[in-house]
Subunit: 198 residues, 2 copies
DNA sequence: ACCGTTCTACACCGCTCGATGCAAAACCTG
DNA sequence: CAGGTTTTGCATCGAGCGGTGTAGAACGGT
C-alpha cells in the first residue's frame, strides 16, 4: 500500500535508548540521535514525533527490559529469597560491566533520569514513579518471603527493607557512573546484605 | 583606582550554585543565571569567564560547604563513632528538607553532577574524584575508630564499609530527588546502620 | 502499468545557546 | 576635578538547537 520503512523501529528505539543512557536527555541532540541511528531527521521525526516522545519511549523500553530481568531473578523459586536479592545485586553489577563505554560505567537510565528530569518533567516523573512502585513491591514480596523462610532475619518492616535495597542499588549505580571499580561495588552489595541477614 | 563591583561575588556564587543544584548544568542557561543573580551577562562573564568555569567554582563551593559540615559531624568526639555516622545520615536528610524547592527535594549537587557530567567532563570528574576520596577516607577513619571502640561490630574492611556508607548516602540522595518521603529516607538510614552494628 | 500512500533526503525555519564588542557610567587616586 | 581603570548595559555574533516543508523515490494494491 505504501513505501515500507528501511529501518527496524525496535532497533532504532534500542539504539536511541543507549545514547540517552550514556549522555543524558539534554546533552543528546536530535542530530546526535540521527547520526547514531544512521537515519535522516525526517525519518526519526516521522517515526517518533519529537525528541521528548522518543525519550519517553526509550525510557519505557529501558524500564520494561530492566523489569523483565529483575522479575526473572526475583521470581526464581529455585533460590532462597535472600539469594535472589544477592543475585539481583550481582546482575546489576555484571550489567554495569557489560554495558561499559570507553572505560566508564553507564549507571542506570532510571537513576540518571530521576536525577536529571524528575523534578521538572511531570510526564517523566510519572513514568519513574510507577516503575519505582513496581520495584518496591517486587522487592517487598521477596523480602516478606525471606522473613517467612527465615533467611532474612531483620525485624524491620519489609517495606522499609525494600526501600533500603532499592536505595543501595541506586547508590551502586551512582558509584559505578562515578568510576568505582567492580570489587568496590561487590563489596557494597555484600555489605548491604548484612542489614537483611543480621 | 577603578569602578567597584555592585554585587558580592560570594553571594552570586552561592546563588549560582543553588540554581545548578536544582536544574543541572545543561538545563541552566547563562540567561537563567543572570536573571536569578540579578546581574547583566557581561557582569557574570567579567567575573566568572564562562559558564563552565562558573560551574566549576559553584561545584567547588558546594563541596567545600558540604565537606565542612560533614567534618564537623564526623570529628565530633563527644559522640561515639557509630553515632557520628548516624548523625551524618540525619544531617543529610535534614538538609534535603531544608533545601526543598517547590515540594521537591534537590538531592546532592555532587551526586547530580556525577550522574550528569562525570563521564564526559574530565575536569569535573577530577573534582568529584578528589572529593570522593576525601569523603571515603574521613568515613574510613570514623569506622576504624568505631571498630576499635566496639560500637561498629561489622568485621568487614573499613574501606569497604566506607564505600558502603557513601553509596547509601548517594542512594538516599537519589531517592530524595525522586520524591521519597522523609520517613522513607530515615528508614533507609536506620536500616543501613544495621550493616555496621550487626 | 499505474495510482495512492508512505518514506526519505535536503533545505530551511525561528529561536536560544554561550560568548563578545563597545560605549557610557562609576569609582579611586592624584 | 581630571585621569585612569574597571564595571555595566545593550546590541550583536555565529553556531547549534528542536522542528518543519517539500519534492521525489519506493513500494503495495489493483
Amino acid at each position: 500500500m505504501a513505501r515500507p520503512r528501511t529501518f527496524d523501529e525496535g532497533i532504532a528505539l534500542d539504539t536511541a535508548m543507549r545514547l540517552f543512557w550514556r549522555k543524558g536527555y539534554e546533552a543528546t541532540s536530535t542530530r546526535d540521535l540521527c547520526e547514531t541511528l544512521g537515519l535522516d531527521r525526517s525519518s526519526v521525526y516521522n517515526a517518533f514525533n519529537s525528541k521528548h516522545e522518543l525519550f519517553k519511549r526509550a525510557l519505557t523500553h529501558y524500564i520494561e527490559t530492566t523489569t523483565a530481568a529483575a522479575t526473572e531473578i526475583l521470581d526464581d523459586h529455585t533460590r532462597s529469597p535472600a539469594d535472589r536479592i544477592r543475585a539481583l545485586f550481582g546482575r546489576i553489577i555484571a550489567d554495569e560491566w557489560a554495558n561499559r563505554h570507553e572505560d566508564r560505567n553507564q549507571g542506570c537510565l532510571t537513576v540518571n533520569t530521576t536525577v536529571e528530569l524528575a523534578g521538572r518533567d511531570p510526564e517523566i516523573a510519572a513514568l519513574l514513579d510507577r516503575d519505582l512502585r513496581h520495584r518496591l513491591s517486587a522487592l517487598q514480596v521477596v523480602i516478606g518471603a525471606g522473613r517467612a523462610a527465615g533467611d532474612i532475619t531483620s525485624r524491620r518492616d519489609p517495606a522499609d527493607l525494600a526501600r533500603y535495597v532499592n536505595s543501595v542499588i541506586a547508590g551502586i549505580r551512582v558509584a559505578a557512573r562515578g568510576g568505582a571499580g567492580r570489587a568496590d561495588l561487590e563489596a557494597v552489595a555484600e555489605t548491604a546484605m548484612d542489614a537483611l541477614t543480621r
